[in-house]
């Protein structure tokens, strides 16, 4: 299942981005790469959605950006999770987990699909 930008709900993408930045600051490509890698390419992030989403997160104060050098010594814009971003992520993640486990329970309920 590949999720296109149209399908990937905006709020969902934002949580994914925040989670991608949870471990360490990285650039836009790093975020996309991490999401793809982590979900085994199930979730693919469109560039047309990723960067505007980053801007919005920045406007809300959840992430901050700064120019730095990448591993291969190139100029890249690095995004960092801010304190408020971190708190927001925790809250949203809890809601997501509750929602997805509820969904799972519903899907697994008898009679089973198949």
């Amino acid at each position: 299942m590949a999720l296109g930008s149209a399908e990937l709900l905006q709020g969902t993408l934002q949580i994914l981005i925040l989670k991608a930045l949870y471990a360490a600051p990285t650039h836009g490509y790093g975020i996309a790469r991490w999401i793809e890698h982590t979900t085994d390419d199930v979730l693919r992030v469109e560039e047309g959605s990723l960067y505007p989403a980053l801007r919005r997160l920045e406007d809300k104060g959840y992430v901050a950006s700064d120019w730095g050098l990448s591993d291969n010594n190139r100029r890249a814009r690095y995004y960092t999770l801010t304190g408020t971003g971190r708190a927001h992520l925790r809250k949203e993640a809890a809601a997501w987990l509750r929602f997805s486990s509820a969904m799972t329970r519903v899907m697994r309920a008898e009679p089973s699909l198949a």
Binding site: Y29, R33, G48, R55, D59, R74, R75
Partner: protein, 888 residues
């Protein structure tokens, strides 16, 4: 990264470049990823392009977003910095509250006066009359010598037919003396003016209420219409619309007995013509309509000039009068010597235009002085802080930072001054309106709104720029390190700055001298006016009028008998020193009731003389205190049955019989084409009874011999205060007939006060402006001298240590101050001489270049300046040389 992007980045955030960089990096990473999976460079790029999609669209989105964000950031950054600047400026001003208070006070005075005066000037001068194409409407006047000739009705009709320059001609009667009118059940004192029916049509005026008088009202048999002025309607009738349709009967109109008028409408505000009018009415079906003389109003035809109208008018009037003389068959040529055609606007605004322009000019000068002063104060303060500012620059503050910090101070000072000035303006305006003489036209329209507030905002803004930037530029322009050096006081820069201060002070001095000189001229003129020899004695002299029920006193004989009886009972009252019937109240204007005179035996080439007519009884000259030069005054026997006699004033005698004794000579009065001959029995002095500024040549006649009836105006000389005698007069009168009333009773002190109100007010205002200007100039000088002395503390100390006495030092400081004052004073004197010509029309027996006034202005300024410079000079010599040498 492309090289040109670096240049873009050089000027701050480079949105385009950053977005390109970020997306390009993303693309490169993706390509690298594909290549690490074994694709060739070309394949990897193709795959990445497919994967990412429209890179340009994405970058356009991001650029838009970033641009909006950058704009928002810049704005909030500016706000933050501005707020910070303002906070700092407030703190720094709070540390020197004296300066803040002084500048606010100076600005409040300057701005306040500017707003108040601009409001008045705008209301009175700039606003338009409620008249269509007002520049076309003119007032036409003709003169014999200095005396105006009104236009008889027949001549007006003839002129309306003949004129090629005017599209319409209307007449307005001179304003009549205030008289009681019965309206409804109440009595109102109104000043009325008769008009021809087409008066309002010619002006193109629209009524506020009801209708105005129209041409058809001239027709015999139509209702007798009267129209109230807006001011009278508001002030006397409380703006009550039910006044329309009410009857207005004039119980004191000797010619039109029992005239009954109906109030048909209310005129729009601002139509104050003749000045002070309460209501206009028409003479309908009245014998007066055929002969009543009027001021002439006309509307210029399109393309016709006032000059052409004047030439035509002069030719017409001269011809008409020559004809009138021929009809009368009396000797004496009668020439109209001068004609005037002025716009109605000028006529309505009259002399107040000159006064107000001068006051407005004075306010502008005062405001300039205030600006220069505050600017100088801030400049001095900035100079005192040059060290601090230099340190701030040295530690990294940019020129702009310093400028915006100084600007913030300017804004705060200007804002404080603006608010204080606005409050001051309101108070000043209220005071001015309260103090203004009644003659100031259209005062009912004054209110502080709209344009003046805009003016205030503009002025405040200007002040801000001036006070904020001037000191800022002067100081911040200075080299970085210069003020940081210890020996700043030796530098040429200080001297340069000092010259700037001195120039500012000299400019203030010059402006102050101009203001002082103008005030001096007006005050000197007022003093002359107040001490003018009136030709009569105004002390303990009063005048009043009597009304009587017309139904009872319905014939001239009965009215005359009433007059005689009243005079005899009043004469018996203790406290009444003398009394006499007079023709009307004084100060009616020099052209009120003028009659042409000819001497017996004059040839047809002689010029006739115009003189005012004065009526009176046997005690007339004793009552008025007019000196008798020769002959006799009137006797009780000079009544309607006796031979006609006259007493002439010195000017009339000198003109009719130069170098001869006038007693026994015969003089003819030309009235409506016929001549009445009188024998001169006495000669008296000329009196300023009709106008304060000039003596009117007058011919006096016994009242019983002039017209049947009684004028019912009486002048009385009392031995004590008039207010003690008035109740006695009333009591005795009620014994004669309880229905009689005394009204319009005034002492000459009051009447003179009214006459002098305008000159007194303008002298007072200009004097106040001059005083403020003087104080401001003194503050400016004091500030600069204090600054100079402080700058030179070390030098002074050195000189004193080397043996210079305190007198020497003091003299040097004073000499320097005086040289600044002398330069400013001389410039101011030149300015005053150049500008005082404007005042000429307002001056009485004082020349515009009056040495007394100008000298007094200079002397006063010099003394005040000396005092302002003396304090710093004395302080300079109190310096302990040891301390002075170590200073700084």
């Amino acid at each position: 990264m492309k090289a040109w992007r670096r240049y873009l980045r050089f000027w701050g955030p480079n949105i385009e470049g950053d977005v390109q960089d970020e997306l390009h990096f993303h693309f490169e990473q993706r390509v690298g990823d594909y290549m690490s999976r074994g694709l060739s460079r070309a394949d990897a790029e193709r795959a990445a392009r497919e994967r990412i999609g429209d890179l340009d669209a994405i970058s356009r989105d991001l650029e838009t977003h970033d641009r909006v964000r950058a704009r928002r950031a810049r704005w909030s950054d500016t706000m933050d910095r501005t707020l910070a600047d303002l906070r700092i400026a407030l703190r720094s001003l709070a540390r020197s509250p004296g300066l803040a208070l002084t500048t606010t006070a100076i600005l409040a005075v300057g701005i306040g006066m500017a707003i108040a005066m601009s409001t008045i000037v705008r209301t009175v001068l700039v606003q338009r009359l409620p008249v269509q194409n007002q520049q076309q409407v003119v007032v036409l006047r003709a003169f014999v010598g200095n005396n105006e000739l009104l236009l008889p009705a027949d001549d007006r009709k003839a002129y309306a037919r003949e004129t090629r320059t005017l599209s319409a001609v209307a007449g307005v009667g001179e304003l009549q003396i205030a008289s009681p009118n019965l309206i409804g059940d109440a009595t109102y004192t109104l000043r009325s003016a008769a008009v021809t029916g087409n008066f309002f049509e010619l002006l193109g005026v629209r009524p506020v209420l009801g209708r105005l008088i129209r041409s058809s009202d001239d027709a015999t048999g139509s209702e007798h219409a009267t129209v109230l002025s807006y001011r009278a309607w508001k002030e006397k009738f409380g703006g009550d619309s039910s006044v329309i349709g009410m009857h207005n009967t004039d119980p004191w109109d000797p010619d039109a007995l029992l005239a009954d008028y109906i109030i048909v409408g209310v005129a729009p505000p601002g139509l104050d013509f003749p000045a002070g009018v309460d209501n206009w009415y028409t003479y309908v079906g009245d014998p007066r309509a055929t002969y009543f003389s009027t001021i002439t109003v006309g509307r210029l035809k399109p393309g016709a000039t006032a000059g052409a109208a004047r030439d035509e008018w002069l030719a017409f009037r001269d011809r008409a009068y020559t004809q009138a003389r021929t009809v009368s068959h009396a000797g004496g040529r009668f020439h109209v010597t001068r004609a005037e055609v002025v716009s109605l606007v000028n006529e309505v605004l009259g002399n107040s235009a000159t006064i107000l322009s001068i006051l407005a000019a004075a306010v502008v000068l005062l405001f300039l002085i205030a600006c220069l002063n505050v600017g100088n104060l801030l400049l001095l303060r900035a100079a005192g802080r040059s060290h601090e500012l230099a340190v701030r620059r040295a530690v990294g503050a940019s020129f702009g930072d310093i400028l915006s910090a100084l600007l913030a101070e300017g804004v705060i000072i200007a804002a404080l001054g603006g608010v204080a000035g606005f409050l001051a303006a309101e108070a000043l305006l209220r005071a001015l309106v309260a103090a203004a003489p009644a003659q100031l036209p259209r005062l009912e329209n004054i209110s502080l709104a709209g344009a003046p507030v805009l003016t205030a905002a503009l002025i405040t803004l200007l002040a801000t720029l001036l006070f904020g930037l001037l000191p800022g530029l002067a100081v911040a322009r200075g080299g970085l390190a210069a003020p940081l050096r210890i020996d700043t006081r030796a530098g040429g820069r200080t001297r340069q700055r000092l010259r700037l201060h001195q120039t500012l002070v000299a400019a203030q001095t010059a402006l102050a001298v101009v203001t002082l000189a103008a005030a001096g001229l007006l005050i000197h003129s007022l003093e002359r006016l107040e001490r003018v020899n009136l030709g009569f004695d105004p002390r303990h002299l009063s005048v009043f009028s009597v009304t009587y029920p017309l139904a009872t006193y319905d014939s001239a004989a009965k009215v005359a008998a009433l007059g005689k009886e009243l005079l005899s009972v009043w004469r018996a009252i203790p406290g009444v020193a003398a009394l006499s019937t007079v023709e009307g109240p004084p100060f009616m204007g020099s052209n009120f009731a003028m009659i042409p005179l000819v001497r017996e035996g004059a040839s047809t080439s002689d010029t006739a003389t115009l003189a005012g007519i004065g009526l009176g009884g046997r005690e007339l000259f004793r009552t008025m205190g007019i000196p008798v030069i020769r002959g006799r005054t009137f006797l009780a026997s000079d009544d309607e049955h006796a031979a006609l006699v006259a007493v002439v004033s010195r000017a009339v005698a000198a003109e009719l019989w130069p170098g001869e004794d006038p007693i026994g000579k015969r003089v003819g009065q030309l009235v409506r084409g016929s001549v009445t001959w009188r024998t001169v029995v006495g000669e008296v002095g000329d009196a300023h009874l009709r106008a304060l500024r000039v003596a009117t040549p007058t011919i006096y006649a016994p009242w019983q011999q002039y017209f049947p009836g009684w004028t019912s105006t009486v002048a009385v000389r009392t031995s004590s205060d008039f207010s003690n005698v008035l109740p006695l007069l009333r009591r005795e009168m009620s014994q004669v007939d309880p229905r009689l009333t005394i009204w319009d009773a005034h002492s000459f002190d009051e009447l003179l006060g009214t006459e002098l109100a305008t000159p007194r007010l303008s002298s007072f205002l200009l004097g106040a402006f001059a005083l403020v200007a003087l104080i401001l100039a003194a503050i400016g000088l004091y500030g600069v001298m204090t600054f100079t002395v402080r700058q030179e503390t070390r030098e002074i100390g050195l000189r004193m240590a080397l043996g210079a006495g305190p007198e020497r030092v003091r003299r040097d400081v004073l000499t320097r101050a005086l040289s600044v004052i002398a330069v400013g004073g001389a410039a101011g004197l030149l300015g005053a001489l150049a500008s005082s010509r404007v005042l000429a029309g307002l001056l009485f027996q004082v020349q515009p270049a009056d040495p007394v006034s100008l000298g007094a202005a200079c002397l006063l300024l010099g003394l005040v300046a000396l005092a302002a410079a003396y304090l710093p000079a004395r302080r300079a010599t109190r310096v302990d040389p040891a301390i002075a040498l170590r200073s700084e």
